[in-house]
């Protein structure tokens, strides 16, 4: 079981992700914007953060930068539907999120199993790093 923080301003995605991750046995909290997410992050020790990008108050890339600076070992999954510039052009905000510290990115819409697998992979990687540090 891990402690997971979800930061997303869309209640649909919050409800689905909270449900899916709790079904997997994780202890899940959530916040509805980047600023509230950063505050929760500072107050609690989370193993993994799932962070949307286009949000009010403080957008996701800035939120990820702050979290990565504070906790180099935290796992971060960035999620977004991209920002549409035209019918055919999207700003690839997930690529930017990856450059600023997200371990993994998922483009909305995604299957919930993709999310739980991404979180599991990060936890396995963290466990492996801890085992190497002990050896």
């Amino acid at each position: 079981m891990a402690r997971v923080l979800i930061v997303d301003d869309d209640e649909l995605f919050i409800k689905l992700m909270v449900h899916a991750l709790r079904q997997r046995g994780h202890d899940v909290e959530f916040a509805l914007d980047g600023l509230a997410g950063s505050r929760k992050f500072e107050a609690g020790h989370f193993d993994v953060v799932v962070c949307d990008i286009v949000m009010p108050e403080q957008e996701g890339v800035e939120t990820i930068k702050i979290m990565r600076r504070a906790r180099p070992d935290v796992g971060i999954v960035a999620i977004s539907g991209g920002l549409s510039l035209s019918h055919t052009t999207n700003i690839d905000v997930l690529h930017i999120a990856g450059q600023f510290g997200a371990n993994t990115t998922l483009k909305k819409p995604f299957q919930l199993s993709e999310l739980t697998q991404a979180v599991d992979a990060i936890l396995a990687s963290q466990e492996s790093a801890r085992a190497q540090a002990r050896a």
Binding site: D9, D10, E11, L12, F13, K15, L16, H19, A20, V54, M55, P56, S80, G81, L83, S84, L85, S86, H87, T89, K108, P109, Q111, L112, S113
Partner: protein, 121 residues
């Protein structure tokens, strides 16, 4: 004919819901549909109000962005596509017209009708 039917986008893409059900199960499928229908009603009312105010700003971009992603998750393909187009126009500093907001409501109505016809709501 709804505006998006001109682009051959279905109001409801049942394949999206079938794949979601296969991945996450019936309970989460109903949570997806119920939450999307409830949230979208509020978001569209807000968009209509913003269109009337003539100052849509960042809130309208976020609403269009959210309708795009949530609509794609819930199989509301025509609505999601129209919301993506609206998001792009708003990002490019174009105005949100009352007609556009009404068109999105029309697409949402067609989506709910399709859900009802399939016994999903």
């Amino acid at each position: 004919m709804t505006p998006e039917r001109q682009h051959l986008r279905p109001d409801l893409d049942t394949g999206v819901l079938d794949r979601f059900r296969a991945d996450a199960g019936d309970e989460l499928l109903h949570l997806l549909i119920d939450t999307f229908v409830s949230d979208t009603t509020g978001k569209l009312h807000r968009l209509v109000a913003l269109a009337a105010s003539n100052r849509p700003g960042e809130e309208a971009i976020r609403l269009a962005h959210s309708l795009k992603s949530a609509g794609a998750m819930a199989g509301a393909e025509a609505l999601s596509h129209a919301a993506a187009s609206l998001e792009a126009r708003l990002v490019n500093k174009e105005q949100l017209s009352a007609i556009e907001a009404a068109q999105l409501e029309q697409l949402f109505h067609a989506y709910r009708t399709a859900l009802r016809e399939r016994g999903l709501i």
